[in-house]
């Protein structure tokens, strides 16, 4: 639990570093802080410890998720050098809020008491509301922030009502107490409260991870938010949310699988179908990525539906593959749109922005191609093994019809991922050579290499968890 304490302290330290004359120190300091927290999270590797009066539980699984979240944050922060050039930006505050939100994410990942789940969700969400609206003069950013805020706190209210009902029926917020209650313990209230409570809690968290039919806020928010924070949101929030769902469903509520299994299956199918078909009709790359993130929530839900030991591995691997590829894609978009605004053109976030990109910038084209292939789940990339492992869990559980839907939908997804690749290599465009800062380039290259290495040697990560 060292990372929670460290990140909180580092966050406050960053706020005060912001008073220093030079802003140049902020980026390296933030990267250093996240790296330290990353290292510190492995202190508890191999042990199962309860922390803070049984509030948080540290296991290998939670450490793996923590590491993924911290890695995504590291990559996102390292792409953030544009803050330092922007006059109105307040980098110290952005970085501090990001670190605080990581604290919330880690709490969601390793909670043992439902109070911690709530506090973690809120720390993460409130931080995200602020980051979404951080482009204060931009009406789109404002609108996204308000939508996200109103919808997000609405979801929080629903989740809280679920928690209250669960407390009312089981008499405890502790996961192990809930587990023994579900598996036939002494009841305080009617079992109806248990089912209603679990349903509302699920709705709340599914909202946060943007699964259909609770996804309607996602495209607007992802499009309106500054691209960098969209990358942060679509990776960190999703990973943390699924870790929380996994912890709840695979530990406490396995006893009533017949109840939530059906609900999750329905949500999964709706998510997969709606997101993939809507993504096809998008003209904006950022909106397409929003629907793509919804569809990946659908694939992750398959692993949850078929909950078991394998689904833990699958979730960890899939989150890692998805996060790395998403950040690489958003990183390229960020470079391209900054290049456009540098040339005085209006920022274009549609597919056309990538027209002819690969001619003058083969490296950026390659990075984007690998990211898109990984998101589409083409062999020799990490995304393929992620999908493979997720589908295996469903097959082992015997849910074949779900598998058929998922495979069909990933075939649909190839269409909109390949549109980007086609635009880059086959379309004509005036994109000139883009100069990319060395560090930025290294991070993007590292993400690409990681995607390919995991695609060739998936056991590197799979054997760990």
């Amino acid at each position: 639990m060292l990372p929670i304490i460290l990140l909180s302290v580092f966050g406050i330290a960053l706020l005060f570093l912001g008073f220093a004359k030079s802003k140049a120190i902020l980026l390296p300091a933030t990267l250093l802080f996240i790296a330290i927290a990353f290292g510190a999270s492995f202190v508890d590797w191999g042990k199962n410890y309860m922390y803070f009066n049984d509030m948080l539980l540290s296991t290998n699984l939670s450490i793996a998720f923590t590491a993924i979240v911290l890695l995504s944050a590291f990559m996102v922060v390292s792409l953030s050098s544009s803050f330092l050039e922007d006059e109105s930006a307040q980098p110290a505050e952005y970085y501090a809020i990001m670190l605080f939100s990581l604290v919330g994410a880690i709490m969601m990942i390793s909670f043992e008491n439902l109070i911690m789940l709530f506090v973690g969700v809120e720390i993460l969400s409130v931080a995200m509301y602020v980051l979404t609206g951080s482009d204060k003069r931009n009406l789109r950013s404002n609108e996204a922030a308000l939508k996200y805020f109103l919808m997000g706190s609405f979801a929080t209210g629903i989740m809280l009502f679920g928690l209250a009902l669960l407390y009312g029926t089981s008499g405890s917020f502790v996961l192990s107490d809930l587990r023994s209650y579900v598996n036939g313990g002494v009841a305080y209230g009617s079992p109806l409260l248990l089912y209603m409570g679990l349903l509302l809690l699920l709705v709340g968290i599914l909202f946060k991870v943007s699964a259909a039919p609770f996804h309607f806020w996602t495209p607007d928010v992802y499009e309106g938010a500054p691209t960098l924070f969209t990358a942060f949101m679509s990776t960190v929030v999703k990973t943390a949310g699924f870790a929380a769902l996994l912890r709840l469903l695979s530990f406490s509520f396995t006893g009533i699988y017949s109840f939530w299994g059906v609900i999750l299956m329905a949500v999964t199918v709706i998510t997969l179908v709606v997101s993939n078909f809507t993504a096809v009709y998008q003209s904006s790359f950022k909106r397409m990525m929003a629907y793509s993130s919804i569809s990946h929530a659908g694939y992750l839900l398959i692993a949850l539906t078929a909950v078991g030991q394998q689904s833990k591995q699958a979730l960890v691997f899939y989150s890692l593959a998805y996060s790395v590829a998403t950040i690489a894609a958003f990183g390229v978009l960020l470079v391209v749109s900054r290049h456009q605004s540098g040339e005085g053109k209006p920022t274009d976030e549609s597919y056309d922005a990538f027209n002819g990109l690969a001619r003058q910038n083969p490296l950026l084209g390659f990075i984007m191609t690998v990211a898109m292939l990984s998101l589409a789940g083409i062999p020799l990339t990490a995304g393929f093994w992620g999908k493979f492992m997720v589908f295996t869990t469903a097959a082992n559980r015997g849910i074949f019809w779900l598998l058929v839907v998922a495979v069909l939908m990933s075939a649909v997804s190839i269409y909109y991922y390949f549109r980007v690749i086609i635009a880059m290599y086959l379309r004509d465009g005036q994109t000139t050579a883009i100069r990319v800062a060395p560090f930025y380039r290294y991070v993007l290259i590292a993400a690409t290499i990681l995607t390919i290495v995991l695609g060739i040697l998936p056991n590197l990560v799979r054997s760990l968890v």
Binding site: I12, L15, F16, F19
Partner: protein, 123 residues
């Protein structure tokens, strides 16, 4: 402690309620009846002191008020964590005291940040 409440126990509550309502209603009626009434076009306009009405009544207020109100809400609510701590002060012992000092220290560092940002400067 086993006495069930009978309806007559609520009598004081009702008397209080009737008194409170009665006071409001009576004052409203009495002021209307007793006060002098002179109606005219000028009288019924807002701002009757000779200057023609200008602009909207909802003028923008300084953002300072808003910031201070928000900060008040934030710091004010943290007090609720001190009530249970104060009640159990003896049982919690030195550890509890140190933990509360840490908590207050975090709040204070936030307060210091607010001051350094110049939020509380009026000029």
């Amino acid at each position: 402690m086993n006495a069930a409440y009978v309806p007559s126990d609520y009598l004081p509550v009702f008397i209080q309620l009737i008194l409170a309502l009665g006071f409001i209603v009576t004052t409203m009626i009495v002021t209307h009846m007793v006060g002098p009434k002179r109606n005219s076009q000028k009288k019924d306009d807002p701002f009757e002191c000779g200057i023609p009405v200008v602009g909207d009544a909802r003028t923008p207020i300084s953002i300072k008020y808003f910031l201070i109100a928000i900060l008040f809400v934030l710091f004010d609510v943290e007090v609720i964590f001190m009530y249970p701590w104060a009640v159990n002060f003896k049982q919690l012992g030195v550890t509890g005291f140190l933990e509360m000092i840490l908590f207050m220290g975090l709040l204070l560092s936030g307060f210091y940040y607010v001051i350094r940002k110049g939020v509380l400067k009026w000029e």
